[in-house]
Point group: C2
């Protein structure tokens, strides 16, 4: 994904080294799994946004940026590991998930441990109390997003507004934080900081909508994890919400037993009735982000931001 | 427990209010469980130590002390909730555990959420980067203690040294942090800060050894949770370690199926062969702590510290 941007690619290698250096455990089995999770296809999207936005201010401190970017990915990894325990997912990034390999005990504590690593990296890189405060409230928002998700299952139903509020917390908040932290750490103007925040938010929303689409449209091989998982775990997401709106009979079908054949049939219905509207929604968020990116000071970073924002919308895994 | 010390009791009421104020969720079901967990028999031991040690410095800021004390309890609660998911415990503090009530999904995220509340309270109360750094590395040490625990089960065995290192991380570290933070936030001398650290460590060690003893000696009604749990979850703790040393045949018996009758028999053997040595160990840590407490500037706080340190050793739940 990053090979087209050699400078960014090199910086992301630094970020990966910081991540590896901070996952040192006496328990080598867990360390190895954490390393595998980091190396295998972690796209480092959030760190990349932090690094790109860190070019907009006068205070250039690459080692600090790498650490802070690593913190974003580590927070992300922590939530992924806990998500996989919760959803009982067998695969993540093509690798057997932590809890499948080492049990939920190791997986829960490994996630907790990563929260502490995140906490420490933030303390090491924050320039002031506002920086740490922003991280603390963002982390809180992310977890509240996850907690809210629980309130909606096939029994209780969910509105589009509920969905948007949920992904605003669980996904957009971290993209928003990554972009804003880049501008803050480099001492960019307040105008650019606020713009970074909005761009991060919109990219995050588009990213999650697309993730939820891919769960219905991609094969397990491409996703490197099972598809149709949202149906099996009775999680409402936007393609299903739109499908129910466009084809109300679906609601009854959701109450039937989730045999493999029934899941396959439901996936087909969602593909037919829900995916197009969801793609429109993702596209609208992407357009909004691109309009704001166009307002950034022009240069390499703005150009790369534009390209990767477009690329994220047409990704397939 | 605190009614004998009215001043401390009042301050702990403040701490409880800070905790309640910081557990505000849209998901009311989870909020209610968190509140019940806080109100029902949370002994607030760690906050109490922070508050008592905060009397030794010249900078008196009670609202800040309450917040920081609340942070210690919240970090403790977060680890409790995750421990209960991991051990599949049905009861905690006489209340149905979070995961039993609302599933592991809610419980894992609720614990994660509490980490973020802790993180934020620390940021609000820390006087400088050293304070936050101390918290970050302590939190990391606590989680590493939990992760290390996993390496030892009935199959792999464990030495007394392994056990001590494990509880040093998972329990003593938080007592140590609570005591040290009290002296730091009040601007006490470095000598007192270091003494607070050692006292906290030794009290924490004694506390955990006693907890592990109670798992074998107390009834479910007194503990407000099932006893013999460590056996059922194949967790080595010190009474069992001493029992195996004193009665090596036990090792073979541990490999048999854990039927209720067999667990009862094993509990009996551990009571007979392991508890006395474990009590000696707890007593040695308590004596060490009391010797250091005697070196503190004399006054109400030192006297209360002495009394509660003694009381913790003879507690029954």
């Amino acid at each position: 994904m990053w090979t087209a941007f050699p400078g960014l690619h090199d910086q992301l290698m630094q970020v990966e080294q910081v991540i590896q250096a901070n996952i040192k455990l006496r328990n080598k089995a867990i360390q190895n799994t954490l390393e595998a999770l980091t190396i295998n296809g972690g796209k480092l999207v959030r760190p990349a946004f932090l690094l790109l936005f860190a070019t907009f201010g006068p205070q250039q401190d690459p080692p600090k940026f790498s650490k802070s970017a690593a913190a974003m990915e580590i927070l992300h990894l922590a939530t992924l590991i806990h998500d996989d325990v919760i959803d009982d997912s067998p695969l993540r990034r093509g690798v057997t998930t932590m809890h499948t390999h080492y049990g939920k005990r190791n997986a829960i504590y490994a996630g907790d441990y990563l929260f502490t690593v995140y906490f420490e990296l933030i303390n090491e890189t924050a320039r002031n109390a506002q920086d740490t405060h922003l991280n603390a409230i963002s982390m809180r928002q992310i977890l509240l997003g996850e907690l809210d998700q629980m309130r909606f299952d096939f029994k209780t139903g969910m509105s589009v507004k509920d969905y948007l509020r949920e992904i605003d917390g669980k996904t957009a908040a971290l993209f928003q934080l990554s972009c804003e932290m880049g501008t803050r750490l480099s001492g960019a103007s307040l105008t650019i900081q606020r713009r970074a925040r909005r761009i991060g938010h919109d990219i995050g929303m588009a990213f999650q909508v697309l993730d939820d689409i891919l769960d219905y449209t991609q094969s397990e091989a491409t996703l490197a994890k099972p598809n149709g998982e949202d149906l099996r775990s009775e999680t409402y997401s936007i393609p299903l919400l739109f499908a129910v709106q466009n084809y109300p009979e679906l609601k009854t079908l959701l109450r039937q037993e989730m045999t493999p054949a029934h899941v396959a049939y439901l996936v087909h219905l969602v593909q037919t009735y829900g995916v197009a509207d969801a793609k429109d929604l993702a596209s609208r968020y992407t357009q909004k982000a691109l309009a704001e990116i166009a307002q950034l000071p022009s240069g390499d970073a703005a150009e790369i931001l534009k390209q990767i924002t477009q690329a994220l919308l047409i990704r397939t895994n």
